[in-house]
């Protein structure tokens, strides 16, 4: 469901897949080939939210922010994640059930572990892993992991196209 709020209507690329059970409201931009899965809520009412090309936001995620938020390209966000941060770079994996709090910034080629809590204002540098509650930087992301993320993302973008074709 795509709704206007205070005169702002979500701008969604024609190739993006938005599930019938997702809810997108207000000042939101979604790029080419992106996928927004069932139960996800993207609420651009307090500040603008920009989501890049091919990025997948899986089921029951909540995306909302008090400051402008940019999520890059080729980002895979797992199920039930709370995205409340300022920035996520490109080619990033956010594990299931993670929480990204206010003003946090995640670099490119990062991995945030499942269930991790990224604290307020935390900066996660490019190519690093962040795990735990609260999350700590635990190392560098090797190229093999980045390749696996690219494959997982490809799988999801293809699946999103199928869902779109089926009118789901």
């Amino acid at each position: 469901m795509i709704k206007s709020f205070r005169g702002k209507t979500p701008r969604i690329h024609e190739t993006a897949f938005i599930s019938k059970q997702a809810y997108i409201v207000g000042d939101v931009e979604i790029g080419e080939g992106a996928g927004i899965w069932p139960g996800a809520v993207i609420r651009g009412d307090s500040a603008k939210i920009v989501i890049g090309k091919n990025t997948q936001i899986e089921d029951n995620c909540t995306v909302h922010s008090g400051v402008p938020m940019t999520i890059g390209e080729n980002v895979l966000i797992g199920h039930n994640v709370v995205v409340h941060c300022a920035r996520i770079g490109d080619n990033v994996l956010i594990g299931n059930n993670a929480t990204l709090l206010d003003n946090a910034e995640i670099g490119s080629y990062c991995i945030v572990g499942a269930n991790a809590l990224i604290n307020m204002d935390m900066k996660v540098p490019d190519r690093t892993f962040a795990y735990g509650v609260p999350a700590k930087i635990t190392g560098e992301v090797p190229q093999e992991r980045t390749d696996i993320i690219s494959l997982a993302l490809l799988f999801n973008t293809v699946l999103a196209k199928e869902y779109k074709e089926h009118g789901l």
Binding site: V41, N60, C61
Partner: protein, 168 residues
């Protein structure tokens, strides 16, 4: 969506905002100026759930219990929170993605941190800040912090009016 179950219909104050994509069912009372945001489920099927005035339950929360539940006035509950407890007092902040388990009781003016797991039967005294998995008492909530809870509540009461006016 507001639904009757076993002859019990939610009683919702006229000034409250229930998102068109929230689901409220059964023996549930919601007070003046309170709001229930997209994707949230409030399921009063096993036991009654009473929610006070000016309280917000943000997106994709799950509110359900096996024993009667009371949530007070001026409570701000973040995104994707699981509320399964007996009581939350007045002027409380529950952070994003927290879990409040069975029989737990949260006092007045408390702050439960994002991602915290309040374990079954835990009693949190008034003005207490709890953090972690499982949640531990971290200290007393300062007057400044209580002011932030009050501000969040005010912002949300105003924003919920705008959503309601726009028929969302």
């Amino acid at each position: 969506m507001i639904r009757t179950f076993n002859g019990k219909t939610p009683k919702i104050a006229e000034s409250a905002f229930i998102s068109e994509v929230a689901y409220v069912v059964g023996d549930v009372e919601i007070g003046e100026n309170s709001s229930v945001w997209p994707g949230t489920v409030i399921r009063g099927d096993h036991a009654p759930i009473v929610i006070g005035q000016n309280t917000q339950i943000e997106d994709n929360c799950m509110v359900h219990t096996g024993t009667p539940m009371f949530i007070g006035d001026n409570v701000h509950i973040g995104h994707n929170v699981v509320v399964h407890c007996q009581k939350i007092g007045n002027t409380v902040l529950i952070g994003n993605h927290a879990t409040i388990s069975e029989y737990a009781e949260v006092g007045d003016f408390c702050v439960v941190a994002a991602g915290a797991l309040v374990t079954p039967g835990m009693k949190i005294p008034d003005r207490t800040f709890v953090v972690g998995v499982p949640a531990k008492v971290k200290g007393e909530v300062s007057e400044d912090r209580i002011e932030i809870t009050k501000q969040s509540v005010d912002i949300y009461v105003k924003m919920s009016k705008a959503y309601k006016e726009q028929g969302l």
